[in-house]
């Protein structure tokens, strides 16, 4: 809501007014009224259920209302593996949605096909429909999906359609390197700490302190 706030002008009387740019106002409004169409095909659906249930509570982000008609929804959640046989259906669903419409690839399979690199699987839904946000993970944790949703909302508010990828909170490469270092060193694991670049991996080493 930054743009709206900055240009807000009130003179203290009942005749007050506010000014903003129309696109900024529209973006701000759209960002918190995402009607979701869940296209759930695989195991990521379990994580999607967790996400929409009270524990993670997607309603906080104004994106919880599911609409099982593409004509009434503006955010397509593609949750799970898309096979070649499903691809025409997915494309049809996307085409039926009203503008402005957004697509979110939930999980590695929807993002890239995952490890299904074979005759039956579409290697990422972006081969068929435009995709706004990719959330890697097999399945992604609900926190990662919320990161993805906030990333999308940020893009919507700034009226930007460049695709975004959710970054992992832990860098798996740094993490793996740190663990290998711990395993190899016969000394106190904390001695390898200066060699570790990222904050996350360092905290991981600290947590695993004595464990070898």
């Amino acid at each position: 809501m930054g743009d709206v706030n900055r240009s807000l002008t009130l003179d203290g009387s009942e005749q007050g007014f506010a000014t903003t740019r129309v696109d900024a106002l529209l973006g701000w409004a759209r960002k918190y009224s995402l009607f979701a169409y869940p296209f759930v095909t695989a195991c990521c659906g379990m994580e999607y259920m967790a996400l929409t249930s009270p524990r993670y509570d997607l309603a906080r982000f104004g994106a919880e209302a599911p609409r099982f008609s593409p004509r009434q929804s503006d955010l397509l959640w593609v949750v799970g593996t898309i096979s070649q046989r499903q691809a025409p259906v997915l494309k049809r669903i996307y085409e039926q949605m009203m503008e402005p419409k957004y697509v979110l690839a939930f999980g590695t399979c929807a993002s890239s096909g995952g490890f299904y690199d074979n005759y039956t699987t579409v290697a990422g839904i972006d081969k068929v429909i435009p995709t706004d946000v990719y959330i890697p993970g097999c399945p992604p944790r609900p926190e990662a999906v919320m990161d993805g949703l906030m990333l999308l909302q940020d893009r919507i508010a700034r009226n930007e359609r460049r695709p975004g990828v959710v970054k992992p909170r832990l860098d798996p490469v740094a993490e793996a390197k740190a663990l290998v270092q711990i395993r190899k060193s016969a000394k106190d694991p904390r001695e390898v700490l200066p060699a570790i670049k990222t904050e996350e991996a360092r905290s991981l080493v600290e947590r695993n302190g004595g464990a070898k």
Binding site: S112, F115, D126, V128, I129
Partner: protein
């Protein structure tokens, strides 16, 4: 486990039973493809055997065995009343999968209907006398049979045209998913398997 079924089969059919073994307690009989249905009928109807439950049917491709039958159709049966199992195999088809045909056993076990369709779809074995031999997993437009070893591993047959990178404005090509030291041991995409610390 139970030699009974194998003994009975050998006694009843003789040379039609090409070989038998009970490795790891799994009774297995390899039968002449022409006798496939007769053997199945016998296994189903003999009261002491009474194989009333078709468990599974699948095709295994051995391109190197083109002379004796390249595609091995494997059937697993279970008897609920007698509590025993048997595995039947039949080798069909030459190197071009010519003559890869078997008699359908849907008249013996109705449950074999979809299993035979699956073997037809995936491996390309024709089941003669099947009431509805269509593809069951792949789409009708699909050409070839993906579980034949001759099907190219990376060949896809998309139903919708893929978007081009110009149209999308972003790179769409999938990144190499595995580094040289990761992934499957048989060297996916021609990458040789590399020795690592984990080995």
């Amino acid at each position: 486990m139970s030699q009974l079924a194998l003994d009975k089969l050998r006694e009843r059919f003789g040379a039609v039973i090409l070989e038998t073994h009970s490795q790891f307690g799994d009774d297995t009989a390899v039968v002449e493809p022409s006798a496939w249905k007769a053997v199945c009928t016998f296994l189903r109807e003999d009261p002491a055997l009474d194989f009333d439950m078709p468990v599974d049917l699948c095709g295994v491709d051995y391109p190197s065995r083109a002379t004796t039958g390249r595609m091995e159709v494997v059937m697993h049966l279970y008897s609920i009343s007698q509590k025993h199992r048997i595995r039947l195999k039949a080798r069909v088809g030459d190197e071009d999968m010519d003559g890869a045909e078997l008699d359908s056993v849907t008249s013996i076990w109705a449950g074999m209907n979809w299993l035979e369709r699956e073997v037809f779809d995936m491996s390309g074995v024709k089941f003669l006398g099947h009431p509805d031999l269509r593809r069951i997993l792949m789409y009708p437009e699909f050409e070839g049979h993906p579980l034949q070893k001759t099907y190219p591993a990376e060949l896809t047959q998309p139903l919708v045209e893929y978007r081009t990178e110009e149209e999308a404005g972003v790179p769409l090509q999938k990144q190499e998913p595995f580094g040289p030291d990761e992934g499957m041991s048989f060297g996916r995409r021609g990458l040789p398997r590399v020795e690592t610390d984990r080995d």
